[in-house]
């Protein structure tokens, strides 16, 4: 492994202009009067910091122009456990990012290539996400730090209610690259963290071999009129979910010859995917899930990052895949359709049972 190289990064003209445009969009209020708009239920927050927004805008553009490779750890925590992984990351602007991980007791070794043009849906990416982040959280500059030997600006996104940090980004002072990220729940507990412990900026690794690329998202995009037609046929397509999660993308795929709907939601920081299939859940063959009462509903949960929740109701199987705090996931699950866990009560069940038993002995029944 090489030692970290200080400086050496380049930011192109486009990379400098785009953040300025974003800044005009997002932070006009920060320099003067009102804070950026956010859902009324979240309450009023402090104004966003214009310098912090400028730095975040620059960070979103940095991978388009800056090559880097290094060693990074990724960790996730929940109420039920935690796990970590060390990966090697190699990024080439315009090509994509290679991520290599060694095998551990929890995960096999894997090499994945994320193409630069294959993983950025137009709706969910770009300035929309930063607008949502600035609209739903308060973004401030929290000082200067050092990450892996490199000076970094620390930017915080804070929860609007209690002003605790919801996420922290350590942004490379020289290039704008995100060197370290931490995401917290609304009680201040870290739920996800990733950081470079070694990084070389300015050039990619000399390795020429590229692993298999991650497949593209399903190509059949579902527009507004399609969604309306699907809703009339019993599909559930909410425009928003609890936690200020807005619908930003909808696609259709196929599983075992039957259609499967994918709805993507984000608040600029958390992401939630809702998948819907016709039928009832084959719970006996679910692997790695636990039956749990979540938000008053009986659902099957697989903890991890992302968290998965599966259940069926009214002839539809719902699968929720969430990179979001547990409290948000519970609210989302509770807001979606469910069937009662128990039927109408013990006496009703007994009555139905006696009727059924009587019918067994009734020769005319």
């Amino acid at each position: 492994m090489s030692r970290p190289v200080l400086g050496g990064g380049r930011v192109g003209v486009a990379g400098l202009l785009a953040p300025v445009a974003l800044l005009a969009l997002l932070a006009g209020s920060a320099a003067g009067s009102a804070p950026t708009a956010r859902p009324a239920s979240w309450g009023e927050g402090a104004p966003n910091d214009a310098r912090a927004l400028l730095l975040l805008g620059r960070a979103t553009q940095a991978p388009a122009t800056v090559a880097y490779h290094g060693v990074q750890f990724v960790s996730a925590w929940s109420d039920t456990g935690s796990t970590s992984l060390v990966v090697e990351v190699d990024h080439r602007p315009g090509h994509g990012t290679t991520v290599r991980s060694n095998s551990t007791t929890q995960a096999p070794a894997a090499d994945t290539f994320l193409p630069a043009d294959g993983v950025a849906p137009s709706v969910i990416g770009g300035s929309n996400a930063l607008e949502r982040l600035a609209g739903n959280y308060t973004v401030v500059l929290a000082g200067r730090r050092t990450v892996s030997g490199r000076p970094a600006d620390l930017v915080e996104a804070r929860w609007p209610g209690n002003h605790r940090p919801a996420a922290r980004f350590w942004l490379d002072a020289a290039t704008g690259l995100v060197l370290r990220r931490e995401v917290y729940d609304n009680q201040g507990r870290t739920t996800r963290a990733s950081a470079f412990v070694e990084i070389v900026v300015g050039r990619a690794s000399s390795t020429q071999h590229l692993p298999p690329a991650m497949p593209d998202a399903w190509s059949d995009e579902v527009d507004y009129s399609d969604r309306a037609a699907m809703t009339s046929k019993g599909w559930h397509c909410p425009d928003e979910l609890p936690g200020a999660l807005d619908l930003v993308d909808a696609r259709r795929g196929e599983a075992d010859g039957a259609p499967i709907l994918h709805l993507s939601y984000t608040d600029g920081l958390a992401t939630v995917s809702l998948f819907e299939q016709r039928g009832r859940l084959d719970a006996d063959n679910l692997d790695g899930y636990q039956l749990r009462d979540q938000g008053g509903q009986a659902v099957y949960v697989r903890d991890g990052m992302p968290q998965r929740v599966v259940w069926s109701a009214h002839g539809t199987v719902f699968t929720l895949v969430a990179d979001a705090p547990a409290s948000t996931v519970e609210d989302v699950v509770a807001a979606l359709p469910h069937e009662p866990i128990e039927d109408e009560g013990g006496w009703h069940r007994l009555g139905r049972g006696f009727e059924r038993v009587a019918s067994w002995f009734n020769p005319f029944g």
């Binding site: 975040l56 960070a59 750890f73 990724v74 039920t80 456990g81 935690s82 796990t83 992984l85 060390v86 990351v89 990012t97 991520v99 060694n102 095998s103 551990t104 007791t105 929890q106 995960a107 894997a110 994945t112 994320l114 993983v119 849906p121 963290a193 990733s194 070694e198 991650m214 998202a217 696609r251 599983a255 075992d256 039957a258 499967i260 993507s264 984000t266 992401t271 998948f275 299939q277 039928g279 009832r280 859940l281 084959d282 692997d287 697989r302 903890d303 991890g304 990052m305 992302p306 599966v310 069926s312 002839g315 199987v317 699968t319 895949v321 990179d323 039927d343 049972g353 059924r356 038993v357």
Partner: protein, 200 residues
């Protein structure tokens, strides 16, 4: 820069997921800088993976024969032990010299209804028990038969791999998201938590 001391015994704890949040963070940061600890960690993981994958040692022929013998027809199960001694429902034979009539042996001449040997009492207890059993059986049968009808529809198992890739493909484009998380999600469905919590 002064490097912290090597991980030593903590490597084993790291592999087993027994380190706390802060300790794990420090250990991972150290490993990324320290080739010797990294090599030790990989060796520890290799050994553990081999142990996990190693087949169980074959049982000896004698043990196999004894286990097979257990499966062959044998004696009936011994009678169940009752936790509390119950009053016997079947009257025991009277002791020699004891009167066989139902008359009371009490000095006042009244029947002793609490005496276990009383025939009328035994009969009543028998009938009551039989009626209670029948009613209980009826209730249980009705309760089981009265279960709500199963939700109609084709059984569906969500396609885990396709769902993981689709989620990663649509969310990896989010600015400030971590490519490593997207790659890990697409490759093997994300990070799953080991059975034991790490003492958070």
């Amino acid at each position: 820069m002064i490097r912290p001391e090597h991980l030593g015994q903590r490597i084993s704890a790291l592999v087993d997921g027994e380190l706390g949040h802060a300790a794990r963070d420090r250990a991972l940061a150290h490993i990324a800088h320290c080739p010797s600890c990294r090599a030790a960690l990989e060796e520890e993981r290799r050994v553990k993976d081999r142990l996990t994958a190693a087949p169980a040692p074959p049982a000896s022929p004698e043990l196999t024969a004894r286990l097979r013998a257990l499966a062959e027809p044998g004696d009936p199960l011994p009678p169940r032990e009752r936790r509390m001694p119950l009053t016997p429902l079947v009257p025991t034979l009277p002791a020699p010299g004891r009167p066989r009539t139902g008359r009371s042996s009490r000095p006042d001449g009244r029947r002793d209804s609490t005496r276990p040997g009383s025939r009328g009492t035994t009969r009543r207890v028998r009938y009551t028990a039989a009626a209670a059993s029948a009613a209980g059986l009826m209730l249980v049968t009705a309760f089981l038969a009265g279960a709500a009808p199963q939700t109609p529809g084709t059984p569906v198992l969500p396609p885990a791999a396709e769902i993981s890739v689709e989620h990663a493909a649509t969310t990896s484009g989010l600015p400030l998201s971590d490519p490593a998380f997207g790659a890990v999600t697409a490759s093997f469905g994300g990070l799953t938590f080991p059975p034991r919590a790490s003492g958070r």
